[in-house]
């Protein structure tokens, strides 16, 4: 009798609600009962309200139980869950769950499915096809595919990736780098983490292809220190990739070299800004560099560097495998492909939703998110991280598309969506935006360094329309136009959106906050 495969996530989100205990309980119970099982720790499927989500491979496919506690485990065995037996926690076949079924998972196709520590499993599920294709292509062809794909930087700025690739590729031969920005610091975002923890070889493959395309033989990954699980997963994957000849002097025996360096950040939000990240990677204080020079021309250690966010690089293997046109066929307008949105905050069904661009915000919030967790009406959502705009329900029909969002006074950013119900005080949220900037500013440019602190003070003094509101708007104008980087330049976005859409919250008296 073959062992039944049982899948328990090793994803940090799942572990935070007891996945390790559940896994141990499953092992113990199987042993106690003398049942042969094969326990596989996977990434998360991204349905956090169901975590820890335990899956069992049955003849009909994988079935899901969740959220499971350790205490539930004996009951699950008793209910015959190894055969997909009925149990109050059973949700049926995982693939058929509406939350998943309505998605179009491209980047996340393997996350939650495969064993992230197995290169074999990765390959068995379609991994390395992009790399193998790339090895057979001329570098310029790879760049062309990326150009055709219409891929735009997933870190937030949505800069056309193909142009970056072309620029780096066109620099004279010599030392070049591929740099992966895994400093995923936006509040309410976790897609980078989920890929690294759940499908790390995808990132490695993406970086390898990028290296082949632009002529870089070294890749650097800047991982935020707050992701210890991701670090473990990535280190294990890199080690395995080296052992298996995926990384090293001759990638898959091609004679072309590529290897990776993994660097851990030190807890600064600003190091998610690409030039501050470069400084940090070089061992310096994370301070924003002026541009020009563009990092594509003079980046890490002054060498041409292709810098991408995890999501951008993770999109690459599919683009090369299936062709740029496949990717360009998804999405709308100039927003091509899929974006893994991350629902967080006061939302009933928080989790990862990978869909092509073009769906409306409302669909995402209600059809996937199911409204607020508190059951109260949604008052505002912040899209695109702590520097993104707060959007009122009147804007919920905006399509999830870079240009449409910009027109609506917001931004998609890295795809993080934080939901607030009607109890939220938007003045406090505006204040928080300034406070966040005051704490996280690198301190280099004056509008950001001093302006953010003054912003907090001015908001504290606001009690209805008046000179303080005018001063706040003036300050926001200065920060927007005079700041050195997007940190100071975008901080006014949440502030002004709160002020514009929720003026009533600013009419209340000044209140002190700790």
């Amino acid at each position: 009798m073959t062992a039944v495969k049982v899948f328990v996530p090793i994803d940090a989100a799942a572990r935070s609600v007891g996945a390790d205990e559940v896994a141990a309980a499953v092992q113990a119970e199987a042993k106690r009962l003398g049942v042969a099982i094969e326990l596989i720790r996977t990434g998360s499927r991204g349905m956090f309200w169901l975590e820890p989500l335990v899956e069992v491979a049955t003849a009909a496919g994988r079935v899901a139980y969740g959220p499971v506690t350790a205490a539930d485990v004996p009951g699950l065995f008793a209910a015959g869950f190894l055969q997909g037996g009925k149990h109050p926690l059973l949700h049926g076949k995982t693939e058929e769950l509406a939350f998943l079924k309505r998605q179009q998972r491209v980047t996340f196709a393997r996350v939650g499915v495969v064993d992230p520590r197995s290169l074999r499993d990765y390959e068995a599920h379609g991994g390395l096809r992009g790399l193998r294709a790339a090895l057979a292509m001329a570098p310029a062809q790879i760049v062309d595919e990326v150009m055709t794909s219409g891929l735009r930087g997933r870190g937030g700025a949505a800069f056309p990736a193909g142009i970056k690739w072309k620029t780096v590729a066109q620099q004279p031969p010599g030392q070049k780098y591929v740099v992966c920005n895994a400093d995923e610091g936006d509040s309410g975002t976790y897609s980078d983490r989920m890929v690294i923890e759940g499908d790390p070889f995808l990132l490695i493959e993406g970086m390898l292809i990028a290296g082949l395309a632009v002529g870089a033989d070294q890749g650097w990954i800047y991982l935020r220190s707050e992701y210890p699980d991701a670090e473990v997963a990535l280190m294990a994957a890199i080690d395995m990739a080296r052992r298996e000849g995926l990384l090293g002097k001759s990638v898959l025996g091609s004679g072309r070299a590529f290897d990776l360096h993994l660097r851990r950040g030190a807890g600064a939000y600003i190091c998610g800004e690409e030039t501050a990240m470069l400084e940090s990677l070089e061992g310096k204080r994370g301070m924003v560099r002026p541009k020009p020079p563009l990092p594509a021309i003079a980046g890490l250690f002054g060498k041409p560097s292709l810098i991408h966010n995890v999501m951008s690089l993770a999109a690459v293997p599919t683009i090369v495998e299936k062709g740029g046109a496949f990717h360009a066929g998804l999405g709308v307008g100039r927003s091509k492909g899929t974006l893994p949105f991350q629902l967080a905050g006061n939302v009933k069904h928080g989790g990862l939703v990978e869909v092509p661009f073009g769906m409306t915000l409302r669909e995402l919030l209600y059809d996937f998110g199911g409204g607020t967790a508190s059951g109260r009406p949604i008052k505002a959502v912040q899209v695109g991280g702590p520097l993104g705009a707060y959007l009122p329900p009147a804007k919920f029909d905006t399509p999830l598309d870079y240009e449409a969002f910009a027109q609506a006074g917001g931004m998609l950013g890295h795809g993080g969506i934080v939901v607030f119900d009607d109890t939220v005080d938007m003045k406090a949220m505006a204040r928080y935006a300034m406070e966040f900037c005051a704490v996280e500013s690198c301190g280099k440019c004056t509008p950001c360094r001093i302006g953010s602190t003054r912003g907090v003070e001015v908001i504290d003094q606001i009690a209805g329309p008046g000179p303080q509101v005018a001063l706040l708007r003036d300050l926001c104008d200065t920060m927007t136009h005079a700041s050195l980087c997007a940190m100071g330049g975008l901080t006014p976005m949440p502030v002004l959106s709160a002020l514009d859409h929720f003026p009533e919250d600013f009419a209340r008296g000044a209140r002190a906050r700790g």
């Binding site: 004056t446 200065t478 050195l484």
Partner: protein, 958 residues
């Protein structure tokens, strides 16, 4: 104050970059600039001022203050003009309503966290923040002053020369960047994030930090945050003069900023070509000795050295000195008197002293202590290349791809040049250090030596031979260069010599104490570099086989084609400000100015005609010969200008006896020194601030010294020499040192084109300056060597005999540290003592362990010459078996142990430098002297040399 008006184009010159010039329009004005020029700099050139705070043309653009934002037609946003390079056809606007509003709002933010004490602020009248608030038209601060701020941040007064007042800081990072980009020390940082960002010298105070007090941060600061204490005390200066530092051989150009005849501060001169606007703690801050109470301001005489001094007038002193000289010459003969010139005084003064000796004394008994460090260079380079001087200018290092530093410790001894070198190293040049000690350059922030050849003291020649052997035998020589430019028979002979396996790294490695592979790799690195430059110090010259080493260096440079263009060369780093000049000026007993031998009748005729007296054709006495002759009874009077021979000579008793045997010793110095104890006439000297003249630095650069205050004692040194000549019946007629220079130019082929007017016009001139090179010669030997064909000289390595014994198992080396200068006659009379209150003994942990010595213990050091007690500093900077001390504090007695080395005669052999500061010694922990206190000291070594009157002696040690 005029420093306000000093041109600041905002961002550095980028004209060295490749690419066609770019033409663009700024506020409607067309301007053409080199590719890569910033909009800010281009605007400046177009006569358009863009407001700025964080930008200054000595630092790379930073883009933090956001005052310099501009609008560019067809572009979104408001790019910073400092960080945006010009592009062809750009249309830039620097003044629009929107820009005005952004600038004013930004300034409003600055001022919301800045004290409003302008009227009582030391920067009042010279504050860029104040200026910019005016320029942008700030009229109110709507945020009020009640918000969060830094106004209560405490001042850091720990540095003796400047105050750090963070309450006035605008966090522009100019200080941090200056520390990094200009000085290369990386002592400062920005601590904290966001509003909490503050400038910090590490975790403690400035004095406790890595800060070397070079002053670059103070100079860079646009506010009163980093401010000279002298400006706090005296207020802003109101006029200034450009002059030249009187400390080391770098010869930095300074603006002496004055109020009346008081120096308020010394600020490095941005256009100074030796220092390019940089300075070190000595030149920048340690000028207080010039007005120290110990200065002697009245001439003094006495009949015998047992008597107390008697103050007299200049006339009396000069008349007395002259009558004694004439009396002695009458009694003992014309050759019974002589003079010693100073490598601290000006060219003109040195010239006058040797002229006095040759024309008024009527003999050639003139010498200089500079001979000790200069002679091996002079001889070695003259023999091989044809000129007694370094081949490059300091700028050259910025073109070097490989830099060799041998027997020198530039970060302490030539700090301003070291900073240039470190900048180049940070740009990617490779470094090879050849030194027994792990000097700071070997491993310091952002610079690391590719190879540290940590040789056994005394094996310099072996190292150079081994390197040359590798170059020749591995086929790395630039054969075409050698064939075209060098004497081939000599080369062939030399090549046969160097090929001999006895010169291989495998044979010499064990002697040197360095693995053969290291020597081979270093040789390959040097030989295959596009441009490789060698910089050496007294660890080469003040050494047995000093001249041989210099010639071996020249051989290696010729062999690899590394002479005759920027980025290469053979460069001695001079110990004192005017070592080069004093030697150029005919200070040696056998040479007239311009290194021309007195035996040459044409030369004698030339000078004889000009001076109106015949020149003696016999070389005169060298300093040791003078002493010997004094003890013989045939040498009876000596005029010593600005040297302290009694302190500096290794054989103290010998010198003391010799001086005692003389009947008239005339000492001219700033302070009563050791030699003055044996003097009969004391003539007060004038500091560099009190006289006009020129100094010639290590790169042959002649720079003006300008009088900014009257001589404290009434006469400049040259005037005193002139008075003495007149009293001797040989009147000299100069109203100003420029006339002396005119005479030098008329008589010296390498100086033909030098005039004060031309120096004023060009800023400085590197000799040779004549019809062939009317504006001077930055790089020598360009198309051919000065001597015609370069000459390879066989440089046999001669092992020194066993250097240690059971009784004296350690080798003691001496040197100097950054904050102090030589025996400290000047620097100990300044607040520089904050860094180096006492001399310490550095030793390796193994040696310390074996003797039970712990860091901070007081230890006895004994050599055959004597013994002294020093505080121990245990450090791996030393190699086992070698200990090290500084010699800045005579009272510590470091001189006592090092002064005499009875084995010297056996060690010197073919060196031309008879003095070497070293000894074998032993040391042990002093009973009951355990101390946990760790002294603040820096522990670095370098050239040893005098104050306005101290001899040089060695760092590297036998």
């Amino acid at each position: 104050m005029d420093s306000n008006k000093i041109l600041d184009r905002g961002t550095p010159d980028r004209s060295a970059r490749v690419g066609a010039p770019v033409t663009l329009q700024i506020d409607g004005v067309a301007v053409t600039v080199p590719a890569g020029t910033s909009l800010m700099r281009a605007a400046h050139d177009a006569g358009v001022k863009v407001p700025k705070l964080c930008a200054t043309d000595s630092l790379d653009a930073f883009g933090s203050c956001r005052l310099c934002l501009v609008e560019v037609e067809g572009r979104r946003g408001y790019p910073a003009s400092c960080t945006t390079p010009c592009e062809p056809g750009m249309k830039v606007k620097t003044q629009t309503d929107k820009l005005a509003k952004l600038r004013r709002s930004t300034m409003e933010l600055y001022i919301s966290d800045h004290p409003l004490d302008c009227l009582t602020c030391p920067a009042n009248g010279n504050c860029e923040l104040q200026d910019m608030a005016g320029v942008v038209g700030l009229r109110e601060v709507r945020y009020g002053y009640q918000g969060e701020n830094h106004l209560a941040a405490p001042k850091d007064q720990s540095n003796p020369y400047f105050t750090f007042d963070p309450s006035k800081c605008i966090v522009c990072s100019r200080c941090v960047r200056a520390c990094e980009e200009i000085q290369g020390t990386f002592a400062l940082t920005v601590q904290g994030r966001g509003f909490d960002s503050k400038i910090a010298p590490g975790p403690g105070s400035f004095l406790e930090s890595e800060c070397v007090s070079c002053g670059a941060c103070v100079q860079a600061c646009p506010t009163a945050t980093l401010m000279e204490k002298s400006v706090y005390d005296q207020g802003q200066p109101d006029h200034s003069a450009i002059t030249t530092c009187a400390y080391c051989g770098v010869g930095c150009s300074f603006r002496a900023e004055m109020k009346g005849d008081q120096v308020v501060r010394m600020v490095p001169h941005k256009d100074g070509r030796a220092n390019r606007g940089h300075s070190c703690v000595k030149g920048r801050f340690a000028f207080g000795y010039a007005t120290h109470k110990d200065r002697i301001k009245q001439p003094m005489i006495r009949a015998s050295i047992q008597e107390p001094w008697r103050e007299v007038t200049w006339e009396q002193a000069i008349a007395h000195a002259a009558s004694e000289i004439r009396r002695i010459q009458g009694k003992y003969g014309r050759g019974s008197v002589g003079g010693i010139t100073s490598s601290r005084c000006t060219n003109e003064e040195t010239y006058l002293v040797q002229k006095l000796v040759r024309a008024a004394f009527g003999n050639n008994n003139v010498d200089t202590c500079a001979r000790v460090c200069h002679s091996p260079t002079g001889y070695g380079l003259k023999t091989t290349l044809g000129e007694s001087a370094g081949t490059q200018d300091f700028d050259s290092v910025m073109h070097a791809d490989v830099v060799v530093v041998m027997g020198a410790n530039p970060t302490d001894a030539h700090p301003v040049f070291a900073s240039r070198m470190k900048k180049r190293l940070r740009e990617g040049a490779q470094l090879i250090v050849i030194d027994p000690r792990k000097i700071d350059l070997v491993d310091s922030p952002h610079t690391r030596a590719a190879f540290h050849i940590q040789l056994q003291p005394g094996t310099n020649v072996a190292v150079m031979n081994a390197l040359a052997h590798v170059v020749v035998t591995e086929g790395l020589a630039k054969v075409d260069y050698v064939r075209a430019r060098c004497e081939l028979p000599e080369f062939d002979k030399w090549q046969a010599f160097i090929r001999d396996p006895k010169n291989s790294p495998e044979v010499l490695g064990p002697v040197i104490g360095v693995p053969a592979t290291t020597l081979r790799d270093a040789a390959r690195l040097y030989a295959t570099a596009r441009n490789a430059a060698i910089y050496y110090g007294l660890g080469v010259t003040e050494h047995s086989q000093g001249s041989t080493t210099v010639m071996a260096i020249a051989n290696l440079a010729m062999l690899t084609g590394n002479l005759g263009r920027p980025g290469v060369g053979v460069n001695p780093l001079r110990g004192q400000n005017n070592v080069q000049g004093s030697c150029d000026m005919g200070s040696f007993p056998h040479e007239l100015p311009g290194y021309r031998h007195v035996s040459d009748p044409t030369v004698r005729e030339l000078f004889g005609q000009s001076w109106g007296v015949p020149i003696d054709d016999e070389p005169g006495l060298r300093i040791p010969n003078m002493f010997d002759a004094a003890l013989d009874g045939s040498f009876k009077a000596l005029y010593v200008q600005g040297e302290d021979i009694a302190q500096s000579d290794p054989d103290t008793h010998h010198v003391q006896a010799a001086l005692t045997a003389m009947e008239c010793v005339i000492v001219q110095d700033l302070f009563i020194n050791e030699t003055a104890k044996y003097a009969h006439v004391f003539l007060p000297g004038a500091s560099f601030l009190e006289k006009d003249g020129t100094f010639t630095n290590a790169e042959r650069r002649i720079s003006r010294v300008r009088r900014v205050m009257p001589p404290l004692a009434g006469l400049a040194d040259w005037e005193a020499t002139m008075a003495l000549a007149k009293a001797l019946g040989y009147p000299m007629h100069y109203d100003h040192p420029s006339q002396i220079m005119a005479e030098i130019a008329a008589l010296t082929p390498t100086f033909t084109g030098v005039t004060y007017d031309k120096i004023d016009q060009l800023g400085s001139i590197q000799w040779p300056c004549n019809d062939q090179a009317p504006t001077g010669t930055p790089v020598m030997h360009v198309d051919q060597f000065v001597r015609g064909k370069g000459r390879f000289v066989i440089t046999e390595y001669v092992a020194t005999p066993e250097r240690t014994s059971r009784k004296f198992p350690l080798i003691l080396t001496t040197g100097r540290i950054l904050s102090q200068y030589n025996v400290g006659a000047q620097t100990r009379r300044t607040a520089n003592t904050a860094w180096h209150a006492a001399d310490v003994l550095e030793l390796h942990p193994h040696d310390a362990e074996a003797r039970g010595i712990r860091d901070g213990d007081r230890v006895e050091v004994e050599s055959r010459a004597g013994k002294t007690v020093l505080r121990a500093e245990v450090t791996e900077r030393m190699q086992p078996g070698v200990v090290y001390t500084t010699f800045h504090h005579p009272e510590s007695g470091a001189n006592v142990v090092t002064t005499e080395n009875s084995d010297w005669a056996t060690i010197v052999r073919n060196t031309r430098s008879p003095r070497c500061r070293s000894a074998r010694c032993w040391c042990r922990r002093r009973r009951g002297s355990r101390s946990s206190r760790r002294l603040r000291s820096s522990r670095r070594r370098c050239c040893r040399g005098g104050s306005d009157g101290r001899a040089e002696a060695g760092q590297d040690v036998q």
